[in-house]
Symmetry: C2
Subunit: 325 residues, 2 copies
């Protein structure tokens, strides 16, 4: 009976992957070692660092942490494509020089208009429709749009090692959340399929929205204006407000994630923070201090003294993107 039980246990453990390498796309090294050691420690009921499953909260930035963000945030590519499509149907929507420049693909003029210009593009393309309709627009875009240089769909430019990491954490009783500067409605259109993260575990920036009953049918409308920017100090504030728990594991890639990692690691008990360092100009991109997106300066400076794990994309990852089917 005991032998049978042991055989059964081995079978179950193999089937669930507990005996296999949970992070096959991570090269051997400090990053992989520390992740596994941390997970072992917090999930071992005999360990003094054991953390009950309820409190195993892991938060992940999205742009540059779970998928690429060059040459610009993919959500901006969506906004520009959508603006062009809308302008084709009705040119009168191009009410300002900024919108005209964006429609003409004049990125220089658009960038010169700064945050205000970007907000104008976002407002034109992200409001005036119901959340359900917007969701369909994003899905339709993802089906056909291609990254300008990588020549594959944006939602395939996700990081295989991070997919493995999130799956590993979930298998070990963690709950994985996205906490991103990206729009919450934009992300919900694909993150469940791409990352196996359900809509209620997505925290992001948000435009204003309202409840309206149209011809007797209630809808949530996306309105002009920004309700919340989920970046920098906003990240811990949003996590507190929406989760009410302090994460024990946090992953980011830019200084926009600094406060989230700082708050995560300042809690009692075992904590883990990692910063994805984009070092791979060949397979992905190489950038940090001087980048116009995903700028990483303070994080790079202080990671060592704070005990945050820098992940060197080139050195630590044997694969970057999943193989296309």
């Amino acid at each position: 009976m005991k032998i049978l039980f042991l055989a059964f246990l081995v079978f179950v453990l193999s089937a669930t992957g507990a005996l296999a390498d949970p992070l096959p796309s991570w090269n051997p090294g400090a990053a992989k070692q520390r992740i596994v050691a941390f997970v072992d420690r917090v999930t071992d009921p005999q360990s003094s660092h054991f953390v009950p499953a309820d409190e195993r909260v892991a938060v992940f930035d999205n742009d540059g942490t779970l998928w690429s963000e060059q040459p610009v945030y993919f959500q901006l590519m969506f906004a520009l494509d959508r603006l062009r499509e809308m302008a084709q149907a009705d040119p009168s929507i191009l009410k300002s020089d900024v919108l005209k420049a964006a429609n003409a693909g004049d990125m220089k003029a658009l960038m010169a208009a700064g945050t205000k210009g970007l907000l104008e593009v976002v407002t034109a393309t992200h409001s005036g429709l119901a959340v359900d309709e917007f969701n369909k627009e994003v899905r339709a875009w993802l089906k056909t749009a291609q990254h300008p240089t990588k020549k594959r769909g944006y939602d395939t430019l996700i990081y295989q090692p991070m997919l493995e990491l999130m799956r590993y954490l979930r298998d070990e009783g963690f709950k994985t959340y996205i906490v991103s500067g990206g729009g919450v409605h934009f992300m919900r259109a694909f993150v469940e399929r791409a990352y196996k993260i359900p809509p209620e575990q997505v925290i992001g920036s948000a435009g204003k929205s309202s409840y309206q009953v149209r011809d007797g049918v209630p809808v949530i409308m996306k309105d002009p204006g920004i309700a919340f920017i989920d970046d920098k100090e906003g990240k811990p504030v949003a996590i507190d407000s929406k989760l009410g728990r302090r994460p024990i594991f946090a992953a980011g890639n830019s200084d926009g994630d600094f406060q989230m990692l700082e708050w995560t690691t300042a809690g009692d008990g075992p904590r883990f923070a990692m910063i994805i360092h984009h070092t791979d100009a060949e397979r992905e991109w190489a950038y940090d201090r001087e980048s116009h997106v995903g700028k990483l300066d303070r994080g790079l400076e202080e990671a060592g003294q704070r005990g945050w794990q820098l992940v060197d994309m080139k050195r630590d990852w044997s694969v970057v993107y999943p193989r296309l089917p």
Copy 2:
């Protein structure tokens, strides 16, 4: 072997309560019948109304739906008690006539000051401290404070039939959320213990908050000012923003819940909405159209034609509050 299996099955079913009445404090009648029929329908994989577990989202208002709300919202009782305590330590905090009236227990003057007056009391008592500290204040208050007429702790004035209902739904694969006009930080101090609802499943009103590093220690501070009022149209907006799913089950008791019930029941497939009607002046309170809290007018008017189940507290509940230990 087959017999053994059946015996085992019966044992498991009895142990999990599947053969027992899941709603013992609900009197036989339409309300109880319809709840059970709905749950059976959406959880039966053979039913054309089957709903996958992921989408079994049930939302509950708190004040008047899960616990009592008379003579005033319990959170206001907390604010008044805390104001008095703070003023005892430092009388200079009573900077306005409204705060002086509140401190003196002059409810008439306080009510005459309207929403603006109440906000002043809330600001004085709900800001200027870290979320963790506030949480401790609420817990300490709940340990000693007594309801003025019921003479028991506020967190014991919860509805036994609703505890059973939430437990039943969870046993049937639902996820139960609170969606309340009450403050999210206030509720999180007790709802996990009182209702078995974890912090990440609590949606509520919120004051402004900020991330601050104090002497090297990062905290979330509760600041003056209101960030979001989770009432009326705000409820579906907040559910969309935080959950990204439309509930299939909603329970409320006042017109502040109308839009949440309307939005819930307007979705495709099977839906259930209930309104707790406070009809029990003896065991609880009796109020609806004319009440200063939990006013129920439109909901009472339209529940019938909309197919929303009115729960008559006096008739439908054999027990109101749980027996004290």
